[in-house]
Symmetry: C2
Subunit: 317 residues, 2 copies
C-alpha cells in the first residue's frame, strides 16, 4: 500500500465534520482503501465481481445435497441474470464476469489421486490472475462448484491441521456430513507427502475454481485493487496464498461470516474480522457482494464529506 | 402486515435458485418487507431518510463534548451536502429531508422542569408523522441535537428502569460522563410522578427531534413503510412507542449496533437484532442508512432471482 496516501487519508479523516472516530470501522476501511488505491480520496463505485465455476471428482463420494450438473445449470442461470449474484451485482453497480472452467471435465477425485496436474493448476491460476480488471475499485471473487465445500475443508485441514473443517454446505444431512469428513481424511492421507507445500496442497486437494480465485486474489494484489473475501470456499482459496506468503492478504477484507460451520475458524486463522454476519451460505460471492455496500458507504463518507473548515462547524474539545 | 403477501413471498422464496435458507437472514428480511409493502416482490430502491434536529436545555449541565451551536452548524452542513448522511443518502439512492425544529429555542432543562409543554410535544409528534413519504420503500429517521444522548439515556432509564444508560456520546471524558449520569438521575427524580406514562416521559424528558422521530416511526407504520432504526437516540424514541403499545415496532428492523455503550441493552429491550455492527456512533441516521444497502440486497435477490423452474436448475434432495 501507498504510505503517502494512507497519511493523507488519515489526516483528511481527522478533519471531516464528525466527532473523532464516530464512523467506527468505516474510517479504517476508507483509509485502507486509500492505501491500496494510492489516493487520499478512494472510490468504490466501479466494483468487479468474477465468478469461477468448476466441477469436482470428489462428488463421486456423495458429498453434496445437489447433483453435479447443477454447476453448469447455475452458470447458465448467471448468464441469464437469474441468480442471487446477478441481483447483488446490479444493486451495487458491479461488473459481473463468469468463467466456467472445463465443467465437462471434473477434477480427479482427490481421495484417489491429485485433483489437478501441474499444468492444469498453473493454467487456472493464470486464468484467475488475468480475470482482474486493474481499473476496478474493488474486487470480489465468487465461486460455483457442486462439492466444493468438501474441497475447501480439505484445503483448510491440510493448511492448518485439525479436524472438523467439513460442514453442511448447501444442506447435507448427518450421513452426508460423515461422507464429507471421510473424504477429507482420505484426501489428507493420500497426499500426506505434500501437505507442507501450499501450492501442492492446492493442486492435489483443490479445484479449478478455487485455484482461479487464488490467482485472482493475487492478480488484484498486483493491480492494487482491494478485495472483499466471500465465505468458506473463497477464504480457503485465500488461505493458500496466506500460508505460502504471510501478508499476502493485506489487500483483502472479510466480507461476511457465513453459516458454514468452520468459516469463523478459518477467518480467525486469516486474522480477518467480517464486515457482515447474516447467516449466508450461498457462495457465488454473494456475501462479499453484499459487503460492497458497506465499503461504498465508507468511501462515500470519507471522500465526499466536508471538513470542519469547509463547513464552518466548530470542532469538539 | 399483509398475510397474503407474506404467504406469497414465502412461497416465492422457496422456489428461488438457491439452496433452501442459503441467503440466511436476507430471506426473512425480504419476506418482512413483502408483508409491510403488501406485495410478494417488495422494492427498496426509493428509500427516504429524514433528519430531525433539536436543541436541549440540558446542555447547560455540561453533558456534551461539543457546544450547542454545532446543531445549527450541522443543519447547514446537511443543507450543503457535506455531512456523512448526505454521502450515504447518495450512495444508496435515498431522498434526504431535514427538519430543524426551533433550534433557537432549546427545550427546557429537564432537571428543572418538563422539557416540553403538551402543545409542543404534540406539534413535533405531528411534524414527524407528516414527514414520512407514504410512497417510500423504506424509511430512516435520523437526528442531530447536541446533548441528545443524555436525553435518550433519561428516556431509557424512565421507560425501563436501572442505571448506566448514559454513555460517551460524541466523546465526553469521565467527568462529562459523570455529569450525564447526574443529569439523568436529577431528571428522573424531578419527573418521578409521570414515569409510568410513556408519552409524559417523552414530554418531560425528551426533546423535539426525539418526539419527531417517534411521530415519524408511527407515521411510517400507518403508511406501511418499513423502518430501519438507527442508534441509541433513535431507539430511545422508538422505545416510547413500544412501551406505550407493545408491537408498535413490528415494522422496524434495527440497522446497527452503535458504539454508544447502552445501545445493545436497549436493542435487547426492543427485541431487535442489529443488521450491522461496525462501531458507528455518529447519529444523523448514518448506521441505519448504511443498512439500507443490506435491505436493498435482500430485496433485489428476492424480487429479481429466477425460480428453479424458470432457470431449468435441478433442486436439491
Amino acid at each position: 500500500p501507498d504510505a503517502t496516501a494512507i497519511a493523507a487519508a488519515t489526516a483528511r479523516n481527522g478533519q471531516l465534520t464528525k466527532p473523532p472516530g464516530a464512523l467506527g470501522r468505516m474510517e479504517a476501511l476508507a483509509i485502507w482503501m486509500a492505501g491500496w488505491q494510492g489516493t487520499d480520496k478512494p472510490r468504490a463505485d466501479q466494483p468487479q465481481i468474477v465468478i469461477f465455476a468448476g466441477n469436482h471428482g470428489v462428488t463421486a463420494r456423495g458429498v453434496s445435497a445437489f447433483p453435479a450438473e447443477v454447476t453448469v445449470q447455475m452458470v447458465a442461470n448467471f448468464a441469464h441474470g437469474g441468480a442471487a449474484i446477478n441481483q447483488l451485482a446490479k444493486a451495487f453497480g458491479a461488473k459481473l464476469d463468469v468463467h466456467a472452467l472445463d465443467l465437462d471435465r471434473p477434477t480427479a477425485d482427490f481421495t484417489e489421486q491429485p485433483a489437478m496436474s501441474e499444468a492444469e493448476v498453473v493454467a487456472v491460476l493464470r486464468k484467475g490472475f488475468e480475470a482482474v480488471d486493474p481499473t476496478a475499485h474493488l474486487f470480489v471473487a465468487g465461486e460455483m462448484g457442486i462439492g466444493n465445500t468438501t474441497v475447501a475443508a480439505a484445503l483448510a485441514a491440510a493448511l492448518y491441521g485439525g479436524t472438523g473443517w467439513a460442514g453442511r454446505g448447501t444442506g447435507v444431512d448427518d450421513a452426508g456430513l460423515a461422507r464429507k469428513e471421510a473424504a477429507v481424511a482420505a484426501g489428507l492421507a493420500r497426499h500426506a507427502a505434500v501437505l507442507s507445500d501450499p501450492l501442492q496442497v492446492l493442486r492435489c486437494l483443490g479445484g479449478r475454481e478455487i485455484a482461479a480465485m487464488a490467482g485472482a486474489i493475487l492478480g488484484a494484489r498486483m493491480a492494487r485493487v482491494p478485495v472483499i473475501l466471500d465465505g468458506f470456499i473463497a477464504c480457503a482459496a485465500a488461505a493458500v496464498l496466506e500460508v505460502a506468503t504471510p501478508g499476502a492478504l493485506d489487500h483483502c477484507v472479510a466480507g461476511h461470516l457465513s453459516a458454514e460451520g468452520a468459516h469463523g475458524r478459518l477467518l480467525e486463522r486469516l486474522g480477518k474480522e467480517p464486515l457482515l454476519s447474516l447467516g449466508l451460505r450461498l457462495g457465488e460471492g454473494s456475501g462479499a457482494a453484499l459487503a460492497i455496500g458497506v465499503l461504498q458507504g465508507a468511501v462515500a463518507c470519507h471522500s465526499g464529506m466536508a471538513t470542519f473548515a469547509e463547513a464552518g462547524v466548530a470542532a469538539g474539545g
